[in-house]
């Protein structure tokens, strides 16, 4: 084992914390980029993960534990077993993050590829290791950029297959979940407004723009531009807030 200098050891630690890579891979990436952290990230993310045979076998075992008896996918039942193995509730937002890593097409289903891909991206091949990664995955929600990706991913994932829009109830549920991590003070008003005045499915554009709205417009609406390119529904929401005297005009 090489003796690492203190600064390099720090960098290694940082690298692992951020990417969730194994020590071995981290070391490899850092060495390849001359101990420059930024460059090391590039290296790490652009490399295909080497699959050792041992890894594959363990993943295969894991997959078989959860897979549905009649089709080559992990379905709802399998997922609830997975959740209990991990000791998390199925509604826990960390499952969303996990699905994101897997790039799962739709909720409550994982294809074999998605399952394998996700676990490999996380650099784990057992339940234990996956469990260890849970806090890391939770922390990813605090990262601005990642939250943005996860939020936008959630739309496609949560909606019904073959539908263009997201059913209102599901959308509200997702928003409650996501904004619990993000502290947007108007989230409850938003959900009330939708149930009160809208009662229809949510389009992709509205979903995406809502995050922008929550991010950039302050809760007192002082910097809200009525002439701006906000979707119609958000304009209506602002009207609603004025109507209900939640915000002063």
């Amino acid at each position: 084992m090489h003796k690492l200098s203190r600064s390099n050891r720090d960098k290694l630690q940082q690298f692992v914390a951020i990417t969730g890579a194994s020590d071995k891979n981290a070391l490899q990436a850092l060495k390849a980029s001359d101990w420059q952290l930024e460059a090391a990230f590039d290296v790490f993310y652009s490399q295909p993960q080497p699959r050792s045979n041992g890894d594959m076998r363990r993943l295969e075992e894991l997959y078989n534990r959860y897979k549905d008896p009649y089709s080559d996918m992990i379905l709802a039942e399998g997922i609830s077993v997975l959740c209990s193995d991990l000791q998390v509730e199925p509604q826990d937002i960390v499952t969303l993050v996990l699905s994101w890593h897997m790039n799962a097409a739709t909720a409550c289903e994982f294809s074999k590829e998605e399952f394998f891909g996700g676990l490999q991206a996380l650099g784990v091949d057992s339940i234990g290791k996956l469990q260890e990664k849970l806090s890391f995955m939770r922390s990813e929600l605090k990262d601005e950029q990642k939250f943005h990706e996860i939020y936008n991913f959630a739309f496609g994932w949560a909606k019904e297959k073959g539908q263009k829009s997201l059913a209102l109830d599901t959308a509200i549920g997702m928003w409650q979940l996501l904004f619990a991590e993000r502290e947007w003070p108007l989230v409850n008003h938003w959900c009330d407004f939708l149930q009160d005045r809208h009662n229809k499915a949510i389009s992709k554009d509205t979903w995406a723009q809502l995050l922008e709205f929550a991010r950039t417009v302050d809760p007192a609406l002082s910097n809200y531009d009525a002439e701006g390119a906000w979707p119609y529904l958000i304009d209506e929401f602002v009207e609603y807030l004025y109507d209900k005297s939640v915000v002063e005009k």
Binding site: K164, S165, S203, K204, D205, T206, A208, Q209, E212, E227, G228, A229, P231, Y232, D235
Partner: protein, 738 residues
């Protein structure tokens, strides 16, 4: 005359003595004192004195001293003689003195320049000093003008004030004096400007400011304007009489600012005599004067145009309010209102062309005013609908009453087209017009000429797309006549199953031109069915690839009702005829039986039965005899019915179309907005939200004013249909998705 032979050179003292003598003589002459004029030898002698002194050999070449002497002569004269004389006098007398002495000075300069001419030729040329004339004039300026100009200016201004207040003054004198100011500038206008003009303008400013305050309180607007016009005229004259022409623009601006610009608001808004009142009372002279006065001033017409616009808007709004108040039970007297608006337009357009010289500012003001009130709703009817109804009534009357001459109809049509220009929802007008046109063409008499005339004018103003459907409808009617002839021919020649004793006319309408109508599966009486079939046969021979859709709701029928008293001809709609014919076979039918037999919808049947049993003419007896139709009623042929008329027309009240028209137009607008957005994005590729919206509004403004919210919704719809997407970096910019 001989030059001095004496070899002794003359000294300066000797020379000056001689010169002084000459000067004294000269001054006596030019001051008008008794003194014999210079004889020619004296004149030449004076010149020679100078000449000799100049050509003397040094140290006796006295050119320099002579030059000094020349200057000293003038200085002394100015200080000792001229200035005191002027200072002695006051007022006008002082001016006269100044003028007189100035002239005298000029003469002296001329004479002495001649005496000292040799200096000019050689000494001055060599030494570069100022010429003798300049020296003489400069002395006057420095020793006389500089000392007196302040007082002189005071006097001049006082005189001008006198003249302004109506008294006569010596204009020639003032002209001379002011010329002096100019002259003493020695080539530029500085002395005139600084020593006189500036003070004059300040004085003028306060003079007219005072006048303006007084007049604006005491006088009416027309009176004030007359005074203002007079003042400006007088000041112009003043310039031509004695002021320098440079002063004119500054002076006029000064007067205009005080009399017209600063008080513009008060003047134009004067109660009972201001712009509004003048417009109301047709005071064309005063209005023309107003235009003339304010036209001269840069941007001066703007407040007048604003007053004009406000007045016209107020007039228009009050017409609208009158109509609103007069509307009983939601029915608007649109004939009256539209006529009044047309008259208003004619009246105020006349002002624009005559009093306001066709100025664009006033055309614009008129347009803006009309656009404001022409787009107001009255008792729920939009102006688009009212205008369409107006046209409908106009044409219906014209077709029935041939006494109306064509030129009045034509000019009314012109007015309608003009008014339509002010209405923003032109597409709504087109839709209402189309619906009513359909009724006119199918149900009443119509004049082909009038219909075509208005369509041509609308096409000219708003484009072919606006009128293409309506033109198609009118053409259909034309073709229909030929078609019918062909149909008759067919029967004459073929004699196949011609319905016995039934005269039958078919009008074929091109779908797409005409408004959409509901079809129904009405079960017609047998006689009618035969007619239909025979026409179908004929039509299929003529054209293979067309499908006929029968719209029974638009048809009408002449039936003979064989009542006990006498037979009466009934003119009814096809639906009504079908119901009545049902009683040919049975005396009595229940509501349910009628529904089953005829296959009409409930709403339609209720309407028809009501018109035949509960309205003015009761051809059917209803049991129970209540005022409304219910599903449990039964009906019987009322053989006892009679009326003094032999022919009765029973109208079927039309269903209220308005909501449907508005819905249809909204739908079309959504498509138009979509098309416009796609068109814009296709050519621009990338565009920020604001610009996209404003370009879209502009593109569509010819037909209607799109609602911004609707545009936003359509943009979102296009995003979800993958025509557009938001830019990832900047979500308020859109990109076209190829």
């Amino acid at each position: 005359m001989s030059s001095r032979q004496n070899p002794e050179p003359m000294t300066i003292e000797e020379g000056c003595k001689l010169i002084d003598a000459a000067v004294t003589k000269l001054t006596r002459i030019i001051e008008g004192k008794p003194e014999p004029p210079f004889a020619s030898h004296e004149y030449i002698g004076n010149y020679t004195i100078v000449y000799n002194m100049c050509i003397q050999k040094p140290p006796y070449d006295l050119s320099g001293q002579l030059y000094e002497k020349y200057g000293a002569i003038f200085q002394d004269y100015d200080k000792d003689t001229i200035l005191p004389s002027i200072m002695e006098k006051h007022d006008e007398y002082m001016l006269r003195e100044l003028s007189r002495w100035s002239d005298i000075n000029k003469i002296m300069v001329r004479w002495l320049s001649h005496f000292f001419y040799y200096l000019d030729r050689y000494y001055i040329a060599r030494s570069g000093n100022s010429s003798l004339t300049v020296v003489g004039m400069t002395c006057f300026r420095d020793h006389v003008y500089e000392k007196v100009h302040f007082n002189v200016k005071q006097v001049v201004i006082a005189l001008i004030h006198k003249e302004r207040e109506g008294q006569q003054i010596d204009r020639a004198l003032l002209k001379n004096v002011l010329d002096l100011f100019v002259q003493n500038g020695m080539g530029n206008m500085e002395r005139y400007e600084k020593d006189f003009e500036d003070f004059f303008l300040t004085e003028t400013n306060s003079y007219y400011s005072r006048k303006a305050s007084r007049w604006i309180q005491e006088d009416s607007c027309p009176e004030y304007m007359i005074k203002a016009e007079e003042s400006l005229k007088k000041e112009k004259e003043r310039v031509s009489h004695y002021l320098h022409s440079d002063t004119e623009p500054k002076l006029l601006k000064n007067v205009q600012t005080n009399l017209l610009v600063l008080v513009a608001k008060q003047l134009l808004e004067k109660e009972n005599s201001g712009c509004s009142a003048l417009l109301r009372d047709d005071k064309t002279d005063d209005l023309s004067r107003m235009y003339r006065l304010y036209h001269e001033i840069p941007e001066g017409l703007e407040p007048v145009a604003v007053a004009f616009r406000l007045h016209v808007t107020a007039e228009g709004n009050s017409l609208i309010k009158q109509a609103e108040d007069a509307a009983t039970s939601g029915i608007v007297e649109e004939q009256v209102l539209v006529r009044k608006i047309i008259d208003l337009h004619d009246k105020y357009m006349a002002y624009v062309t005559d009093c306001f010289q066709n100025h664009t500012l006033f055309h614009k003001a008129l347009k803006e005013a009309f656009e404001i009130f022409c787009n107001k709703k009255v008792a729920g009817s939009s102006s688009a609908e009212m205008l369409a109804t107006f046209c409908d009534n106009l044409f219906k009357k014209a077709a029935n009453d041939k006494s109306n001459d064509d030129s009045t109809i034509e000019s009314t049509i012109d007015n309608v087209v003009k008014l339509l220009d002010y209405i923003s929802d032109k597409d709504l007008f087109a839709e209402f017009y189309r619906k009513k046109l359909a009724r006119r063409l199918l149900f009443g008499r119509f004049s082909d000429d009038h219909e075509r005339s208005i369509l041509t004018k609308l096409k000219g103003q708003f484009g072919g797309q606006f009128t293409s459907k309506m033109e198609g409808m009118v053409t259909d009617m034309q073709l229909g006549k030929d078609q019918q002839t062909g149909f008759e021919e067919y029967f004459k020649n073929t004699n196949t199953g011609k319905p016995k004793g039934v005269d039958f006319t078919v009008t074929v309408l091109t779908t797409g031109f005409w408004p959409s109508y509901k079809t129904s599966d009405l079960n017609l009486p047998l006689e009618m069915v035969n007619c239909i079939e025979s026409f179908k046969a004929h039509y299929e021979i003529k054209t293979k690839h067309r499908r006929l859709m029968w719209i029974y709701s638009l048809g009408n029928c002449n039936l003979t009702g064989r009542f006990d008293a006498k037979p009466i001809e009934l003119i009814v709609s096809t639906y009504q005829a079908a119901v009545l014919c049902a009683f040919n076979n049975t005396e009595r039918l229940t509501y349910q039986e009628l529904i089953d037999q005829l296959n009409l919808g409930h709403e339609d049947l209720v309407r028809v039965l009501h018109s035949l049993s509960c309205a003015k003419y009761k051809f059917l007896k209803k049991e129970p005899a209540s005022k409304t139709i219910s599903k449990t009623d039964s009906f019987e042929f009322n053989s006892k019915f009679t009326d003094k008329m032999r022919r009765i027309k029973v109208p079927l009240p039309p269903v209220d179309d308005r909501k449907k028209v508005v819905e249809d137009v909204d739908k079309d607008r959504r498509y138009a907005i979509d098309a416009s957005l796609v068109r814009i994005m296709k050519s621009r590729k990338v565009l920020p939200h604001q610009q996209l919206v404003s370009e879209c509004v502009e593109q569509l403004s010819r037909m209607f004013k799109p609602d911004i919210k609707m545009i936003k919704k359509r943009i979102e719809d296009l995003i979800s249909r993958d025509y557009l997407e938001r830019d990832t970096e900047n979500p308020s910019t859109f990109k076209y998705v190829a």
